[in-house]
């Protein structure tokens, strides 16, 4: 029964009743309601418990400023920590209060109020230290907290993130924003208008004002209709602009997209100009027990009666220090609420305010010093500011207004500066840092007429168009005398500055006493302003409290930095469609499908390529599979897909000397048809990549890189060419995906390639190691390269991707009589370790150089300079102890050493002298073998070293880092 629903009025649709549940109990509301308005209509007053002290709380605001009632939505639209005032009511909705158990009415956590004195601001810095904070932390976090994230994705629909561009982005569809959008739209600009409420109108929805001699909402409807008719205007409601980033890049969270399959959409808008018509937010007053259910912002109560046709209570006391609360009181009175009194802290109430109050008793120079009732307001104690004449007025609702703060959050996020305005007693936008302008209440222009005017002016200036004729508007005036806290004698009880984070005046005083006297320090020490609501109602009261306590002007205290998001945003909306299979990028080769069809275990193996790790058969274990694949390569023939290797074609007169500069060894001496293995270093002499350079012609070269570092090498080369050698004639073209390759390797590799049919001579004389030849293989245009990563005779058959699948299938078919096996990354890893070939990320760990790896021969002494040369020489000149590559044979050959395990002297708890970089089961040695980086390793062959594990040590003999074919005869064969 909606006992507090007015019989008429409001922006709700009484023909569309909606059923919903709150804390397990069923209620009814109407379309157009928020969860908060529906709860108030049903006379639900106790809706939450506070964050820290578990104090009873009710609904205090009517929009995103709501600091008290956070709910967890259940079921279809499960989401957590939503302000009840921003949740649009839907049929069948289920919600429950956060941070209370079993209910807000009977909350066991409320026991914390008994020892509230022990847990002031920053208590966790000083208490619960013995025997250790971690002992208490879980319980404290459970007790003080919010709802967790939903444990499952949305049951229907999905999220979307989308880019947009606009000449003018207007934030807010209140009077100033609508006027700005109208002028911009008429000027032909591409306009993006976004407003956080369900319908346009902003504060006009909550108040009873007139424009052009008629109801303001008629003007709103006409304006919206005109905007809708403009193809150059994008108008979104229920869409919050929540972040303002560099270069006028803003984020807009649309919660009710027209496409019903989309739950939320996040717009990423790049705007030429931004008009910030974000309005103003009423702040509360600071008095004892100002958090009791029934204590509400005056503007919120006004919104409930006018917009939602809900009486938030039956009898109200209004407490204010400014004029705006008078209109709220008058609206409530007109809606049947008994307004017992207006307690105004000002000594003199302006005449126009008194006129609005009409018959409502006005108590000038008065303050509220206390609230009666714990779970619901039952009365307010009012006295003079000096504490005299205290009396208690019975009421079920205490409405308060401490003045209005322009919503400067986005302006501040854009790095615009703020200044304190004495007449408004608040901070207003000052210098803009980006192409934006604040208009209307967001700029401190609090009257309706000035909102319309500043909205139009801003766009007229931006677009160079003439000011339109402005409609007349209800005259309003606003005056305020700041009251930062009630400190009248007799005022006792906790006075909250930040309702959401339970930060009191005493907390701020404590922070100041303990030396945290900068506003940013106070914020962090007390957590004031750091809740979901970002201190929308309380921040400036904290600043005012600091100013009062320190005896300095507010301008000198300054404001804290506002950060995104302005209001909470679903992670899903930020991620958009990037979920499930597309959370991370992935790359396929033309053979990927074949791999999957043949049971390959796939995983990412560098640069987002999904590659086959191994091809299990039947009941094989992982190790059995890898052993089988390794034996195929060592004893017969195997083939792997080497397509992901980075490939770049370089063209130009200066390519030779350029490659000499980027590689450590000499490349310019290569003849066409020759390849050479080389290292690239970073400027600090560390290994950037290893790869192969091939000379295709006089001025054409092909550089092959590791898979993982292809993009890095590309960037490295381009940077050098664009910054150091802009005059050199070198062009780099990425051809990684123009060439795929199937590498046939093993003693029978030559026979398989020959069986495929080729016009390329395959004999060692015709195509020796480190040579390549162009021709045809299996009837396909191909380039065959004699390089080897396995230590075996290898033919890397490169073809265009359009031919790769055919080539692969032909190889597998032709290779059957030879016992060919597809080989995954795991076997490749074993084979390269047996051969002692390095791997970036294993042996090349960001500390070693070529000398450490026993590859000093690759550091050319003939060249005057190359990237990294000087750094290597300087580093080695220090004669510091180096970790050098060695081979390890575990003394017990059946013991595997974990990769990355540390080596310590004697296996004792002493500083590490190295680490194991790789350990594999060698099919040729029939035992575990490892590679390691060991201090002075090259001079320690024959020693026994020790791997230190958590609960064991492993002894291993040091040897040369090569376990197979040390002179390379097989791969050169």
């Amino acid at each position: 029964m909606q006992v507090r629903r007015l019989p008429s009025g409001g922006r709700i649709d009484r023909d569309r009743p909606l059923a919903f549940r709150f804390n397990g109990k069923g209620y009814m509301g109407f379309s157009g309601d928020t969860l908060a308005s529906a709860l108030l209509a049903n006379k639900v007053r106790l809706t939450a418990r506070s964050f820290k002290y578990h104090r009873p709380r009710g609904i205090m605001g009517s929009g995103p400023e709501e600091p008290a009632t956070l709910v967890e939505l259940e079921g279809r639209h499960a989401s957590a920590n939503r302000a009840a005032t921003t949740v649009r009511l839907e049929d069948g909705m289920a919600a429950r209060s956060v941070n209370c158990w079993p209910s807000p009415g009977l909350d066991l956590g409320a026991v914390s109020q008994l020892f509230a004195g022990l847990i002031p601001a920053g208590f966790y810095y000083k208490t619960f230290k013995w025997p250790g904070w971690r002992l208490y932390e879980p319980a404290i976090r459970r007790a003080a907290g919010l709802a967790g994230a939903p444990d499952a994705p949305p049951q229907d629909g999905h999220f979307e993130a989308v880019h947009a561009h606009a000449d003018v982005l207007v934030v807010g569809a209140g009077p100033a924003g609508l006027m700005a959008a109208l002028v911009a739209g008429r000027a032909g600009c591409r306009v993006f208008l976004a407003d956080e409420r369900a319908e346009a109108g902003g504060s006009l929805l909550d108040r009873r004002l007139e424009i052009a001699g008629g109801p303001a909402l008629d003007w709103v409807a006409e304006t919206v209709a005109e905007l809708t008719s403009m193809p150059n205007v994008m108008h979104l409601q229920d869409a919050t602009v929540w972040a303002y980033r560099e270069h006028n890049f803003l984020m807009v969270n649309e919660r009710s997209p027209a496409n019903p399959s989309i739950q939320e959409r996040n717009w990423r808008v790049r705007a030429g100009h931004v008009i910030l018509a974000t309005g103003a937010i009423e702040r509360g007053l600071v008095f004892p027990d100002n958090d009791r259910p029934g204590v509400m912002l005056a503007s919120a109560a006004q919104a409930y009666v006018n917009r939602f046709a809900v009486k938030p209570g039956e009898r109200a006391v209004v407490f204010a220090n400014n004029d705006s609360a008078y209109a709220a009181a008058a609206n409530l009175l007109a809606s049947g609420v008994d307004v017992a009194a207006i307690a105004d802290s000002r000594d003199a109430v302006p005449g126009h305010a008194s006129d609005i109050a009409g018959d409502i008793p006005v108590m000038a120079g008065s303050v509220v010093t206390g609230v009666r009732g714990q779970r619901s307001v039952k009365g307010a104690t009012v006295s003079g500011r000096d504490g005299r004449g205290a009396s208690t007025i019975e009421c079920d609702m205490l409405l308060h207004s401490g003045g209005w703060n322009p919503a400067v959050h986005l302006f501040s996020q854009s790095r615009g500066s703020l200044r304190y305005d004495e007449s408004l007693a608040t901070f207003v936008p000052d210098e803009a840092a980006q192409a934006c302008v604040s208009v209307g209440a967001a700029a401190g222009e609090l009257s309706l007429a000035s909102a319309l005017r500043t909205g139009a002016e801003a766009v007229a200036r931006t677009t160079g168009t003439e000011m339109p004729d402005l409609p007349t508007a209800t005259g309003e005036s606003y005056a305020i005398t700041p009251l930062w806290r009630v400190d009248a004698p007799g005022a006792k009880g906790r006075a909250f500055l930040d309702i959401q984070n339970d930060v009191t005046v005493d907390d701020v005083h404590l922070a100041l006493r303990e030396g945290y006297d900068n506003v940013e320090h106070v914020k962090r020490y007390t957590t004031g302003g750091m809740g979901f609501d970002q201190g929308k109602t309380g921040n400036i009261n904290i600043i005012g409290t600091i100013a009062l306590q320190k005896g300095v002007p507010l301008q000198d205290v300054g404001a804290t930095t506002f950060r995104p998001p302005y209001t909470p945003v679903s992670f899903g909306a930020i991620g958009g469609i990037r979920e499930e299979s597309v959370v991370l990028p992935y790359r396929h080769t033309p053979v990927t499908r074949w791999n999957l069809d043949h049971g390959a275990f796939m995983y990412e193996a560098g640069a987002r390529w999904r590659r086959p790790g191994y091809f299990p058969r039947g009941d094989e274990t992982f190790q059995e599979t890898v052993n089988r694949e390794c034996r195929a390569v060592r004893e017969g023939v195997g083939v792997y897909d080497g397509s992901p290797l980075g490939k770049f074609e370089l063209k130009g007169r200066d390519v030779g000397r350029f490659l000499d500069h980027v590689y450590t060894n000499l490349m310019s001496t290569l003849e066409p048809g020759q390849c050479r293995y080389g290292f690239m270093l970073t400027e600090d002499g560390l290994i950037l990549d290893d790869g192969v350079a091939m000379r295709l012609g006089e001025h054409r070269w092909l550089v092959s890189t590791s898979t993982a570092h292809a993009d890095t090498v590309n960037g490295h080369m381009e940077e050098l060419l664009q910054t150091q050698f802009p005059a050199w004639n070198v062009y780099v073209t990425t051809v990684t995906s123009q060439w795929n390759n199937a590498t046939v390797c093993g003693p029978k590799a030559r026979a398989v390639v020959a069986a495929l049919g080729t016009d390329i001579g395959l004999s060692p004389e015709e195509l020796p190691f480190m040579r390549f030849a162009d021709g045809h293989v299996a009837g396909l245009p191909a380039r065959v390269v004699r390089v080897s990563f396995t230590g075996e005779l290898s033919f890397e058959i490169n073809v265009a991707p359009r031919h790769m699948r055919e080539l692969w299938e032909r190889i597998m078919e032709t290779g059957v009589p030879f016992g060919i096996e597809p080989v995954g990354s795991e076997a490749s890893h074993v084979l390269r370790v047996e051969k002692g070939f390095l791997s970036l990320g294993h042996e090349v760990d960001g500390t070693v150089d070529a000398h450490d790896l026993g590859m000093g021969w690759i550091m050319s002494r003939k060249k005057a300079d190359y990237v990294g040369k000087r750094s290597v020489e300087l580093r080695r000149r220090s004669k510091a102890v180096r970790r050098e590559l060695v081979g390890l044979l575990p003394v017990d050959k059946k013991i595997q050493i974990p990769e990355g395990a540390p080596l310590t002297p004697g296996g004792e708890k002493r500083p590490s002298e190295g680490l194991v970089t790789a350990c594999v089961w060698s099919v040729v040695l029939n035992r575990w073998v490892a590679l390691a980086l060991l201090e002075n390793g090259k001079s320690r062959h024959g020693e026994t070293v020790h791997v230190r594990l958590k609960d064991a040590t492993i002894a291993a003999d040091v040897m040369e880092p090569v376990f197979y074919d040390p002179d390379g005869r097989k791969m050169r064969s």
Binding site: H158, V582, R587, H588, K651, G652, V735, R802
Partner: protein, 166 residues
């Protein structure tokens, strides 16, 4: 209900990456081969089934149907071009998706940060940009857009597009 748009993966085009000065390339290839160099960056010139896209400083892409690849390769003679002209066949490097329909621009905008409004991206516009986080070449086509991504990202892009169209 999804969007009023659809996508398809197109067959590969003949595509040659041209780098060098206009004069060096023009001199080597001959004016009669090319449809003419676009006068602005990120614009294309089309003629006789060829499209020459200006995609970067001293960089163009020459595209045609794949059945003309051999013909173009013979005419361009990449292997014999002078040092000042880089001509590389890259027909296989990109996979192209055609996104068409009334909501094509919105679907594109889900993955692409480029301003594709016709005032900013006219009929002859062509540009490298991003599509679902990867480098992509975008151009207009009848009723929509053609988006080319690096071939190895083709399956993922298809996955993303299918999700975007829901």
């Amino acid at each position: 209900m999804g969007y009023d748009a659809s996508f398809e993966r197109l067959p590969i085009n003949a595509c040659f990456d041209l780098k060098g000065s206009e004069s060096a390339l023009g001199e080597w290839m001959g004016a009669e081969l090319l449809p003419g160099f676009p006068t602005e960056a990120n614009r294309c010139c089309k003629a006789d089934g060829l499209s020459l896209d200006h995609v970067g400083p001293c960089r163009w892409l020459l595209q045609a149907d794949i059945d003309r690849e051999a013909e173009l390769n013979a005419a361009l003679r990449p292997h014999a071009a002078p040092a000042e002209a880089s001509i590389v066949r890259i027909s296989d490097t990109m996979t192209t998706f055609r996104v068409a329909g009334a909501d094509a621009a919105h679907v594109l905008a889900i993955g692409c940060p480029l301003d594709l409004h016709d005032t900013a991206f006219p009929e002859d516009a062509v540009s490298f940009t991003e599509f679902f986080g990867h480098k992509a070449l975008v151009r207009r086509c009848a009723g929509g857009f053609d988006v080319s991504v690096e071939q190895s990202f083709g399956d993922m892009t298809e996955d993303c597009l299918a999700r975007a169209l829901r």
